[in-house]
Amino acid sequence: MRKNLIVFISIISVFFFSCENEELEPQQQSFLKIYDDSDYNASYSPVGLQFNANNYYILSERRLSSSNFSGINLVITDSIGDFVSEQQLEETFVAPTKSLLKIGSSLYFFCMDRNSLRPYLVIISEDGAVNTLALNTTASYPLAANVTANNTLLLLSYDPDGLNSILTEVSREGGILQQANYSIGPGSDVQDAIVNHFTKRSARLPFFCGQSAGNRFYFNGFYNYTLSMVFTNFGDDPTGVLQGQGTDAGLKAAYSSASGDFAFVGFQFSDHFMNAKTAFPINSISSSVNLFDRNIPEIAEKAICRIIPFNGINRELIVIAAETEGRQVVLYFYDVNSSQLEATYYLGTLNPFTLASLIELEDGGIAIVGTTFLAGRFERIYLQKITKEQLVEIF
């Protein structure tokens, strides 16, 4: 009888001692966090994201009663996305460039003085301290920024007096290293478009700039009255131009790989097209419509698009992120060598989700920042982390 009892208890014990899931550390887990403000009239519009010193830094625009230009917020979270602090820059500083750049242990972006329109370089040190430096340039309206191969900064801005798009290489201390002006052509028809870019969400234009392989610089801005991608060596004239069509066609985003080829998203009125590996006319003049091969109808008409390289799962990939007609955010993963689409990932469900920026994380994951609308109407920042394990699973 005792034997029967032992068997019986053994059966049950199997379950009591069955193994429990070993939980991952919070830093290893994916998350989706939303940062709420109880002010009915508050509105946050993130434009840049970086991970520095174990914190996420979210560069965000906010409404100002004193100006039509956007004010600047800096939201800091810890490594698991929990809110740490918010810093509002003085209302003097407006119109941040739509990216937060990281060089070494410091973060950088450009903005301008709302009265003089003079560009400023803003430096966020590792401890979160913010320092502003006025740039000694005739340019105003900082449109886009990037990091060069020499770890200096590249600024695309607009000169409303000289009617020029201006590309400037800026040192990390705010010094002007080199600068080139390119005329938008006679007249001033682009002034309204540029002002609206800063003051109306629906009128945002896809300005960007960077440096490609072969020490060639590029910017997507106004040239010859057209939103064009211009290639330059900081000479008097561009070396090549990929022309758009007014503000109705052109490129939304581009990324230069080590081979010198480009991944890009283009638009032709309401249509969008993309390719992960294309040779651009860096020494000639061409038109963006020549790159149009097929429409991707899910990308929304006014979609913000971003492209980043991603090697987190030991593969050379390009991530093309865009906003969809379904008010979600879609990530397309392309192989950088074969230019083949490898995987697709969607963010967002009930409430609309928009895209602002995304970064590759050192742990192989991806972090994405944008806005969602709580209760369908309150625009708030979201931060989402996709872990390396999740990304491995979708391939």
């Binding site: 199997v14 069955s18 899931n21």
Partner: protein, 305 residues
């Protein structure tokens, strides 16, 4: 072929665990069969009618089915929200739980080994727990009309495959036997569903106007993990014909959170509007009715104990 992921997946060895559980269930079934087969072999031993009756009275296996209803309450361990407040307190986001509000059912087997007044018993059960909670958000502006409220009313149902082990003592009686019992249980998360009703209140005209914005019901098993705890209860058994009927009332108490912290903040339909689970433990009152049959010496002379 490119693959698409629209929802977060639990990456923490879930498939492995599922396989382990199937293996454990198979092993358990095999052990049960082996044990009862061993008993069947013993039936062949010759014995006198008097000693047979005495042994029957003193020692017996019982097997049957049981079912009933239960009510759950939660004990909050730590509060969480998918929203991170920038300019107000986290306390504003805390949830309110309704205790013992929503009955649920359970059904399973009853296996008892009786020996001289004491019983060792297990009753593997599909045990559902229903939990209700709500939370509110509000936004205020400069005027009365700049007000807006959102409330989330959540109904969470969780089904565990519960595997208890308890000791029961029959206090007195023959045909009617009151008893007390105590033991422990291990619960395997089997299924979970969460329903969220979202109500909005708009003050656009100065007066509150409430409307239901959405009612979302989805499976969320990945948010729940296995559980364990202790149980105790009282009851009474009645013997009629060859069937023993048992009525019992039990209390279960678990000490640790049943919420999977790994998936709490994962992207999902719920987290996309800020609804995530707190850490909470479960307590539960249940009332059950069992019908059990003796497994030994079933013949034409049999009289149920």
């Amino acid at each position: 072929m490119p693959k698409t992921l629209t929802t977060q997946k639990n990456l923490s060895k879930t498939d492995f665990m599922y396989g382990s559980r199937v293996l454990l269930l198979t092993l358990t079934f095999y052990l049960f069969v082996s044990a009862f087969d061993g008993l069947a072999q013993r039936r062949k031993k010759p014995s006198t009618p008097a000693s047979q009756a005495q042994e029957f009275l003193n020692t017996q296996w019982w097997l049957g089915i049981r079912g009933g209803a239960n009510f759950s309450q939660t004990t909050l361990i730590k509060s969480y929200s998918g929203l991170n407040p920038i300019n107000y307190s986290n306390e504003n986001l805390e949830k309110e739980y309704e205790n013992f509000a929503n009955p649920a059912f359970h059904i399973g087997l009853d296996v008892t080994f009786y020996h001289k007044g004491f019983s060792v018993m297990s009753f593997p059960t599909f045990f559902r727990n229903n939990i209700n909670y709500s939370s509110e958000l509000s936004w205020l502006g400069n005027s009365e009309r700049d007000q807006y409220k959102t409330s989330y009313n959540v109904k969470q149902s969780i089904t565990f495959l519960e595997l208890p082990l308890a000791v029961k003592y029959d206090i007195i009686g023959n045909k009617i036997r009151p008893f007390v019992m105590a033991g422990a249980f291990y619960s395997i998360a089997f299924d979970a569903n969460k329903e969220v009703q979202i109500f909005e209140t708009d003050y656009a005209s100065g007066q509150p106007v409430e409307f239901e914005r959405a009612n979302i019901k989805l499976n969320n098993k990945e948010e729940i993990k296995n559980n364990w705890g202790v149980l105790g209860g009282v009851g009474v058994s009645f013997d009629f014909w060859n069937i023993r009927s048992i009525i019992d009332i039990q209390y279960r108490h678990s000490f640790q959170s049943i919420v999977n912290s790994e998936t709490r903040f994962s992207e999902s339909t719920f987290s996309s509007f800020g609804e995530v689970q707190d850490d909470y433990s479960l307590q539960n009152y249940s009332a059950s009715l069992s019908f059990v049959f003796p497994l030994r010496y079933i013949d034409s002379q049999f009289k149920a104990l």
